[in-house]
Amino acid sequence: MHIVKYRKIFYIISAILMVGSIGAITFWGLNPGIDFKGGAALEIEYTKNIPTQDVVQASLTPLNFDASVRPIGNNGYLIKTKSITDSERQAMEDVLSKEDGFSVKQFSSIGPILGAEAMRKSLVSIFIVLICIVLFITFAFRHVSEPVASWKYGLITVFALSHDVLVPAGVFAFLGHFQGVEIDTLFVTALLVVLGFSVHDTIVVFDRVRENLRISKDERDKKDFEQIVGESINQTFVRSINTSLTTLLALVVLFIFGGEATRMFSLALLIGITVGTYSSVFLGSPLLVTVQKYQDRKSK
């Protein structure tokens, strides 16, 4: 019950998070990686004489590729350039291989067409998932029209979900500005997974509300909506926390042991799922009550 009673506090917390995230994104912007911008990334390693970062940077400048060099690990460098042809890449490797023990660990080059397309597809997929979820919830809860119409369940869910997407994006805008962390297609994938997962939680609570509404009607115990929602939250609280907990445990393991390729990915998921669980329990269901009270006030 307490959660619903103190819902104003939670609304304020969420509002702060959302405003903060939107601010971070507007001021610092998201840092698109080569997946979206196009460009090339070359990861190299030296096993013998490791040249310093300045030396590497200096040797690349005459090639005019807008190269940026960043150290990776103990004896490697990540070199990012604008989109280059294969012969240009060969020229770059020739310049770099002057030192001993040079080897290429990874190379990626994405043309600007594919990059822009990836960006477009990402935005559209987020949009489509949001819409599908609204439709799905409206459909799944179609028999629950009292006191709040089923499509409003869907709308509330979407509102909570946008909150779940904005906060990780805000954090990554912060990280992007201060640590050079980039947004790639895996980040978008993480956002989509967060959407799907956050809805899990929300559905479980709404499902319980639906059932309690039915029981209340059958037993004619005249519980008011706020009470029913409060009870539903309490009943499902442990389950919500536990499920997210197991997923978060898996993600923490992945973050620590999983290797460079998926590290930022698991971070995005960690933030997203934590926020998602919070929004389902502390935001989504109390909003139901707020909506119902608003409806009541309007019709009086």
């Binding site: 477009r120 979820i133 799905f136 907990l245 197991t246 393991v253």
Partner: protein, 442 residues
């Protein structure tokens, strides 16, 4: 009761068998199971992935598909010259939201090839269609195995750029499919000259340096038309016509993106993935047992069965594992627990309402099912959208493994967990109630 007990035992035996199979397929080379290895993606195995854009602007609408097929075949022929194990050459359409209408692409995957430069050169080469005459040396040779091309077949100067058209024809006498070719004006003249001077000789037609047919010239041909007959069935005749019509590279191509991963990095990523998978499983299992006690143990067994089932599916469907795919799998393990937790919490509630153990379990399943079904559906929607709109094979692989994970988690929760829990058939009593309740202090 015995039915569920038997069911549970069967489940455990099947699980153990498959589990051994999975272990054996990677670690015991002599076993039957090594016929089903895991398919590792480029970022785990090392290799190169190239994406080309095909310029179909000059090809008539109806011919585009056939041109793309032809392109695919040509590229595959060239790639095979590399001696790469299991290269993949696939036609991709830009599909929805591809740039500027339907965009046709070719995706080439070369596992284990790390010399990107060599790969790109070989694929991008302008191919050749040549007409050559067999030399005296070739005719007199007892063994042509070590003969060089130029010694065996002399160039005539007649090549693909003189070809105007090729069609499939039916030989009127033999009713066999043949290929009729028509040269353009200059080709006509050149062809007439060649055939006049070489009656009775073998005229070999080379595509990309490989002979595709070696007919004998019977007479001078002045109309610029030739009929190539050989052992063609309709299909090979059509294929040759396709190849000839589109010269060698039927469609001009442009390299859009390259990705290559060195083998040492790949192995490192794979190891990290497997390690984190195991740790994640152990951590989750510990949590489940501590919090849920006996049902927790059941959940861990169900989770193990779930993991095994997924791995078996990956092998049977040849799902390509990538770093992102392993992440998807680990994620789905964490989420698979969800269905179990829903059921346990419900069961606890029913116990509190005074039901006995057996009916509490059954009611718990029944009530939890709507929740499980609806909440997993949203994840399936996500997986479908991800799969369809995936801009790279990394994301596609992730979506596939994620989707499979969600489906199998629903399956194991309903079948494995239920069967195992019921099979326990505990007598109602203080001890069993303790074992079934949860939490640290209760």
């Amino acid at each position: 009761m015995t039915k569920t007990r038997m069911g549970a035992i069967l489940l455990l035996i099947a699980g153990a068998f498959l589990g051994y199979g999975i272990y054996a397929s990677s670690n015991v080379p002599s076993s039957y199971f090594s016929k089903f290895p895991f398919q590792l993606g480029l970022d785990l195995n090392g290799g190169t992935h190239l994406t080309y854009k095909a310029d179909v602007s000059k090809i008539a609408g109806g011919d585009v598909n056939s041109a793309m097929q032809s392109l695919r075949d040509v590229i595959e022929r060239r790639v095979n010259l590399f001696g790469v194990t299991e290269p993949t050459v696939q036609v991709e359409t830009g599909g929805a939201l591809g740039s500027e209408g339907a965009d046709y692409r070719l995706a080439v995957e070369l596992p284990g090839v790390t010399d990107v430069k060599q790969a790109v050169e070989l694929i991008g080469k302008t191919p050749s269609l040549e007409f050559r005459i067999a030399t005296e040396a070739y005719k007199n040779a007892t063994s042509t195995e070590n003969m060089k091309l130029e010694d065996a077949f002399a160039s005539t100067g007649l090549d693909g750029k003189y070809l105007q058209k090729a069609v499939v024809e039916l030989d009127p006498t033999t009713r066999q499919p043949t290929v009729g070719i028509t040269f353009n004006t200059e080709g006509k003249a050149l062809f007439a000259k060649i055939t006049k001077e070489n009656i009775g000789q073998v005229l070999a037609i080379f595509l990309d340096g490989q002979p595709i047919t070696t007919p004998v010239i019977r007479s001078e041909i002045t109309d610029g038309k030739a009929q190539i007959s050989g052992n063609f069935d309709t299909k090979s005749a059509q294929q040759l016509v396709r190849d000839l019509n589109y010269g060698a590279l039927p469609v001009p191509i442009e390299l859009l993106s390259t990705q290559s991963v060195g083998p040492t990095l790949g192995a490192k990523v794979l190891k990290a993935g497997i390690f984190s998978g195991m740790i994640a499983f152990i951590v989750i299992a510990t949590f489940l047992i501590i919090w849920y006690r006996l049902p927790g143990v059941v959940a861990v067994v169900a989770l193990a069965l779930y993991t095994i089932l997924n791995l078996v599916i990956f092998k049977l469907l040849h799902v390509t594992l990538t770093a992102a795919g392993i992440a998807a799998f680990i994620l789905s393990i964490g989420m698979a627990v969800d269905a179990n937790i829903l059921i346990f919490e419900r069961t606890k509630e029913e116990l509190k309402r005074g039901k006995n153990l057996d009916s509490a379990i059954r009611e718990g399943f029944h009530r939890a099912w709507t929740s499980i079904r609806d909440s997993n559906s949203s994840s399936i929607i996500t997986a479908l959208v991800l799969y369809y709109f995936a801009s790279s094979s990394v994301v596609k692989g992730f979506a596939l493994i994620f989707g499979i994970g969600v489906l199998t988690s629903m399956f194991t929760a309903i079948t494995a967990t239920r069967t195992l829990l019921l099979a326990l058939n505990m007598k109602d009593g203080k001890i069993s109630r303790f074992l079934f309740s949860s939490g640290i202090l209760k």
